[in-house]
C-alpha cells in the first residue's frame, strides 16, 4: 500500500485555527503542494496579510514575512527587488487587497512587479466579525448590513480582478473557486501557473479564489459551497480574465 495523498513538506502537521468548512485550509494546502511540486521551497518567501490568514506563516514550512494591513504588495515589492532570485508571493483576503490595500495593489500591478498574488475572496471581513466588505454581494446580509447590501447606499461588489486586468503591467489574472473537487484542482493549476510565470520573469500574476465562509454566511459548509456555485460565481464569473 502506497500513500497517494497526504501533507507535503511545506505544510506543517498542525491544526489550523480556521472555522469548520473554511476555504483557507484548502488554499493553504494547494499553495504548499504547488511549491513542493515546483521544488522551490528553499527560495520561496511568502507575505501574509492581516485578516483570518494572519498566522498563515505558522502553517507553512518556508520563509514568510508579515505585512501591515493591505500593504502586502508593497512589502513583496521590496523583497523581490532586493532579492530577485527568490520566488515571492502574497496571500491576501478581500478586506486586505480590495479595501484598505487598494492603492498598494493597483500601483504594484501597474508597475508590473514580478510577483504572484493569491487573493482569497469570501465576500465578508471574517477576522473582525463578518462586516460588509467591498466584495459583499447585493442583498447579502452581514454584521454591518443587517438588511442586506443596498447598492444605492453601499455601492456594488468590487470586481478588483477585472479592474487590475485593465492595467498594462499585469501579465495574468485568473478567477477560480474552491467549491468542488474540480474547482480545487483547477485552483491548484492556476496557482502553479502563477508561480511559473514569476519564475519565467513574465510579470504580475494574480489568482482570485472564491472561498467559503460558512460562519459569517450563516450556512452549513455544504450550503456555502452551493452558494458559491449559484450566487457568488454569477457576480464574480470564473475563468481566465487576462
Amino acid at each position: 500500500m502506497k500513500r497517494i495523498f497526504g501533507r507535503t513538506k511545506s505544510l506543517r502537521p498542525l491544526d489550523t485555527h480556521y472555522c469548520s468548512g473554511c476555504g483557507h485550509g484548502v488554499v493553504h494546502r494547494l499553495l504548499a503542494e504547488a511549491i513542493d511540486e515546483l521544488n522551490i521551497r528553499g527560495i520561496t518567501i511568502g507575505v501574509t496579510p492581516v485578516g483570518c490568514a494572519v498566522v498563515a506563516y505558522d502553517y507553512w514550512d518556508f520563509d514568510c514575512v508579515e505585512s501591515a494591513h493591505g500593504r502586502g504588495l508593497a512589502v513583496a515589492t521590496a523583497i523581490k527587488r532586493l532579492q530577485p532570485e527568490k520566488v515571492v508571493f502574497t496571500y491576501q483576503g478581500d478586506g486586505d487587497l480590495a479595501a484598505i490595500g487598494t492603492a498598494e495593489t493597483i500601483h504594484a500591478a501597474n508597475r508590473g512587479e514580478n510577483l504572484t498574488v493569491v487573493f482569497i475572496n469570501n465576500a465578508v471581513y471574517g477576522m473582525t466579525g463578518g462586516q460588509m466588505a467591498p466584495t459583499t454581494l447585493i442583498g447579502q446580509k452581514s454584521a454591518t448590513s443587517p438588511l442586506g447590501r443596498n447598492e444605492k447606499t453601499e455601492g456594488y461588489p468590487l470586481r478588483i480582478s477585472e479592474l487590475l486586468a485593465q492595467l498594462q503591467g499585469v501579465y495574468s489574472v485568473e478567477r477560480t473557486a474552491v467549491d468542488s473537487v474540480y474547482g480545487i484542482l483547477k485552483t491548484k493549476n492556476a496557482i502553479k501557473t502563477a508561480f511559473q510565470n514569476q519564475m519565467e520573469n513574465k510579470g504580475f500574476s494574480l489568482v482570485e479564489v472564491l472561498s467559503a465562509c460558512p460562519t459569517y454566511w450563516d450556512m452549513s459548509a455544504f450550503e456555502s459551497l452551493d452558494w458559491i456555485k449559484n450566487k457568488m460565481s454569477k457576480v464574480f464569473p470564473l475563468g481566465r480574465i487576462k
Binding site: F5, G6, D15, G21, G25, V26, S180, V181, A221, L225
Partner: protein, 66 residues
C-alpha cells in the same frame, strides 16, 4: 483495497467529505474528539481510493493509501 487514514483530532466536522464520497464510505461519528465535535467515521468497506474526500477536506485530516 484502498483505504484512508482519518485524523480524528484534526477533523472539525464540516462533513464535506461525506457529501463528495461516491461510494458513501464516510458517515458522522459518535464519539467526541478534543475539540468537542463529532469527527467523521470511515466505514472501510468499499473504498476506491479516488481521493475526493482528501481533496475537499479543509483541514488536511485525510491521508489516502492505495
Amino acid at each position: 483495497m484502498a483505504y484512508i487514514k482519518l485524523d480524528q483530532e484534526k477533523c472539525k466536522g464540516c462533513m464535506l467529505c461525506i457529501e463528495v464520497c461516491p461510494k458513501g464510505q464516510l458517515k458522522p461519528g459518535v464519539a467526541l474528539n478534543k475539540k468537542g465535535i463529532n469527527p467523521v467515521m470511515f466505514l472501510a468497506q468499499d473504498c476506491s481510493g479516488c481521493t475526493f474526500c482528501a481533496i475537499i477536506c479543509p483541514d488536511t485530516a485525510i491521508e489516502v493509501y492505495k
